[in-house]
């Protein structure tokens, strides 16, 4: 039985985070990037918190992915 898309989205988020670290390491970190990262961390916390409801978790995960893509691309 497949695990569903949830774990794959988490994997995608982890991969984007790796890319973000590589980008920050290469190009440095400015205040704007730190501000986006702080926002991303809050959304990710919501997505990972065990008490977060199903729908809210899915929405938070989608938003975290979008934030991560914005920071990386």
């Amino acid at each position: 039985m497949a695990l569903g898309s949830g774990p794959m989205l988490l994997q995608a988020l982890a991969t984007l985070e790796d890319a973000l670290v590589a980008k920050a390491d290469e190009g440095g970190v400015n205040q704007e990037l730190e501000r986006h990262f702080a926002r991303y961390q809050k959304i990710k916390a919501l997505a990972l918190h065990p008490a977060t409801g199903d729908n809210e978790r899915k929405a938070a995960l989608r938003q975290a992915l979008c934030e991560a893509i914005r920071m990386v691309v």
Binding site: L3, A14, D25, V29
Partner: protein, 194 residues
């Protein structure tokens, strides 16, 4: 991929994301990811001493390292014994003195940026060890196996304090202590080795 493997991989990814959540800034996350840790384990003669639940200190340390490397493939170097300092897969039999300064220099040579030392005694030379720590320049965390109020514990506390690391006193005389040491070391390792 089997269901079991997929579940395990998903758990590892979730743990990685949870650990990065602990970082207060992107700069902190980058710093943590770039950390290259090396575990330095003491195999001087005193590690052959028995522990209260049977076996010897070195046997308990082997269990800790085996459990640790199941999830965290951190490189391990032993110091003491016949070869003095060497990268190991299996912890060798204990013998000889405690050449901690050579172990720290070994870490410098290998490009480590963070050292975790597990030892049960005082080094061959405190001043040589402190000098090696200065040459190393990175953080050194220490786990001292023994009483918290003896010279070895005091040395570990000073070494950690000088390098910005943490000093811990640990008891590996029983399984609970061994699990605690394993968890303690894992807590110091970077996300990248997950």
């Amino acid at each position: 991929m089997t269901q079991e493997m997929a579940t395990s991989a998903a758990a590892v990814v979730k743990t990685q994301l949870e650990r990065s959540l602990e970082k207060r800034s992107l700069s902190d996350l980058v710093k943590a990811r770039k950390q290259r840790s090396l575990l330095l384990v003491d195999i001087s003669g005193s590690m052959g001493q028995p522990i209260r639940t049977g076996g010897r200190k070195v046997d308990a340390l082997r269990k800790v390292v085996t459990a640790l490397r199941e999830t965290h493939p951190v490189p391990v170097a032993s110091f003491g014994g016949g070869a003095e300092v060497t990268l190991v897969d299996t912890i060798p039999e204990p013998a000889g003195c405690t050449p901690l300064h050579k172990a720290i220099d070994f870490g410098t040579t290998k490009g480590a940026t963070h050292l975790v030392v597990v030892t049960d005694g005082q080094p061959d030379s405190r001043s040589y060890a402190f000098d090696a720590a200065t040459r190393f320049g990175g953080k050194i965390d220490c786990f001292y196996i023994g009483d918290g109020d003896d010279g070895g514990a005091e040395f570990c506390a000073e070494l950690a304090q000088r390098t910005g690391g943490q000093a811990n006193v640990t008891d590996i005389g029983d399984e609970a202590g061994q699990r605690s040491l394993t968890r303690g070391i894992i807590g110091l390792l970077p996300e990248a080795v997950l």
